[in-house]
Symmetry: C2
């Protein structure tokens, strides 16, 4: 298994990275100016003002009108889960993924993200990027896996370079399909027992941090398992000195992490909003921004998550999260929950009157 | 002008207070148990779990289905604004209120709350509780004022006891009408230049705090004006020793604060959710809870606001806010913004599968 990319894969990735525009600085400036004239004391809408300006820059309009939203849940298994780094057995990946698709009285899906997405009017698409089970056919499911789980990143590369690029492509295709279907917000999301270990290794390498600084409790491991997990992360880091972002992804990543990298690259390329929530997602963002720095300004961070290392990831990306609601489930729950708030932020910039329009005295 | 209530007013208020049920402890217990069995690691939905249980207790079902929401914006002027306690002239009250009703390209209303409410699918009702202007007739506007602004609370009672009860009734009627129209969430809200001064006096008296601890910058006053505002609050407190909640309201309140007290009492009486956001709103909540302690459990606190004293108010009410988005506008913007998050919290409890239903292994 080789990490080196084929010439064809490298060319495809370089072309995608080069095609991503910077966000629209003129729309940003106009939005900032407009915010100052709206019928309210300047700054009194707090974070909504900051977000609204960011959305204006991404969408290229000082009156942005984002509406459609798609949560793309990439699911895959991890060889490293055999090392006992998680509170749950690997079989939970398949079961959780099927929970997203199960018919229930309320509609499709009995998972948290299913309930939240219905509530906030977002679509959910599931990508099987390598779940270790034969999933049933389902209209919301795309089977894009090249195999059923990565190799154990502690002892060798998790995947080949070719596989990493295949998953980036699959994620990019899913994001473009969502956007073609009306999504202005894309929420990259994941299910994968073991994936906070992979994300911790990527984060430690990308930020040059000690494993203990960026390795957390995932779905709820105790102190002893956490110590073991940190040792696994350290062993992986010591094993390979990859620095190139796609090589880091192949060495230490998961198939679903690679797919999320692809979603982010394509969403930025389509000039839509990447809703960033969660630790594993932020590890993918570190890779995506390394591949194409212009991606950074298409990210909107929503929740601060409890996983250790998340703060360091966001600091590196220059992002401030909207809130801390204590969510640590994944599945895109945090990002989906923020969609109505992002829509509302855009609505203030788009629909409020200015003092002049309203004829309100200002002193 | 007398603060003493007529026998008839006192009887009406006592009857309303006595009719408010405690929230449903059995539904709360069932909801707590159900949260433990849903297909996720326990606690991994963070604050959403806490909120969902609170909604279950209020709505009396472990599968709560709240949907409709109405923001009731009470507007009134304040005699104390003549003392120069605000960054804006009193005329802004009328102008902001008209901004809520103005026809715009997007629909009715060019105010922040208009844009946000449309975005989150909430209705907006405006109560003229005593704006110092003749407002135009409008289908969203109810004119319930008894006069055009309070007297200056620094030098004498802001209103009579009869007037306070009249405004409590008007707010209660508005909340009941909203609930009859389908609102499960009622967002008491306000516009009123000078009303953070009134709210500071009420808060200082209710919590027995020093004026400097509970007096803030409102819409953005500078240090010198803040010092003056604190002196005004202190002078008012020294002037009158009222302790009875309705007397405190009449002495120091505003007509819109009294109306919000009525909204809260009636919403609790109808067993619906009071969405509490903002400093002036929390001052009204302190009065409402003093009148009828059972109201406390019908409150859901959304934003932490920058106004000094807000933390003390929430601590007294035993409430933890959902987030701090830096909003300090009023108009119900913070509460409205939270509606989709509250709906989503209920959706998780209502629509998620349990581990048993999903057939997911848990170890």
């Amino acid at each position: 298994m080789t990490l080196a990319l084929s010439d064809q894969d490298r060319a495809w990735l370089d072309e995608l990275a080069a095609s991503i525009y910077l966000v629209n600085g003129l729309a940003r400036q106009r939005a900032e100016e407009r915010q100052q004239t709206l019928i309210k004391p300047p700054g009194s809408l707090g974070e909504l003002e900051t977000i609204s300006v960011r959305l204006a820059a991404i969408l290229g309009s000082e009156r942005p009108a984002p509406d459609g939203a798609t949560v793309i849940v990439a699911a895959a298994d991890h060889g490293v889960s055999a090392d006992g780094v998680s509170a749950f057995p690997a079989a939970v990946t398949a079961a959780m993924t099927q929970g997203l698709l199960a018919p229930t009285a309320a509609g499709t899906g009995g998972a948290a993200i299913s309930a939240i997405a219905r509530s906030v009017r977002a679509d959910v698409v599931v990508l099987d990027c390598g779940v270790n089970a034969e999933l049933p056919d389902h209209p919301q499911l795309r089977k894009v896996a090249v195999r059923r789980g990565t190799d154990n990143l502690r002892v060798g590369p998790a995947m080949s370079g070719t596989e990493a690029v295949a998953m980036i492509r699959a994620g990019a295709d899913a994001a473009r399909a969502a956007i073609a279907g009306g999504a202005d917000f894309v929420v990259p999301a994941e299910i994968g027992i073991g994936n906070t270990t992979a994300a911790a290794v990527i984060t430690a390498r990308a930020l040059d941090r000690h494993p203990a600084d960026v390795t957390g409790r995932g779905t709820g491991i105790d102190d002893a398992v956490l110590d073991h997990k940190i040792a696994v992360v350290a062993e992986a880091l010591a094993r390979a000195d990859a620095e190139d972002p796609v090589e880091v992804l192949a060495e230490f990543g998961g198939f679903e992490i690679a797919a999320m990298v692809g979603m982010m690259l394509a969403t930025a390329d389509e000039q839509r909003v990447i809703v960033l929530d969660g630790f594993v997602e932020a590890a993918a963002a570190l890779i995506a921004v390394s591949i194409a720095p212009a991606v950074n300004d298409y990210l909107v961070a929503t929740g601060r998550c409890a996983e250790r290392g998340h703060g360091a990831q966001l600091a590196d990306l220059g992002l401030r999260p909207l809130w801390d609601l204590g969510l640590r489930l994944g599945e895109g729950t945090g990002g989906a929950l923020a969609i109505p708030v992002l829509r509302a932020a855009a609505a203030t910039l788009r629909e409020m009157q200015t003092f002049a329009e309203a004829g309100v005295p200002t002193e």
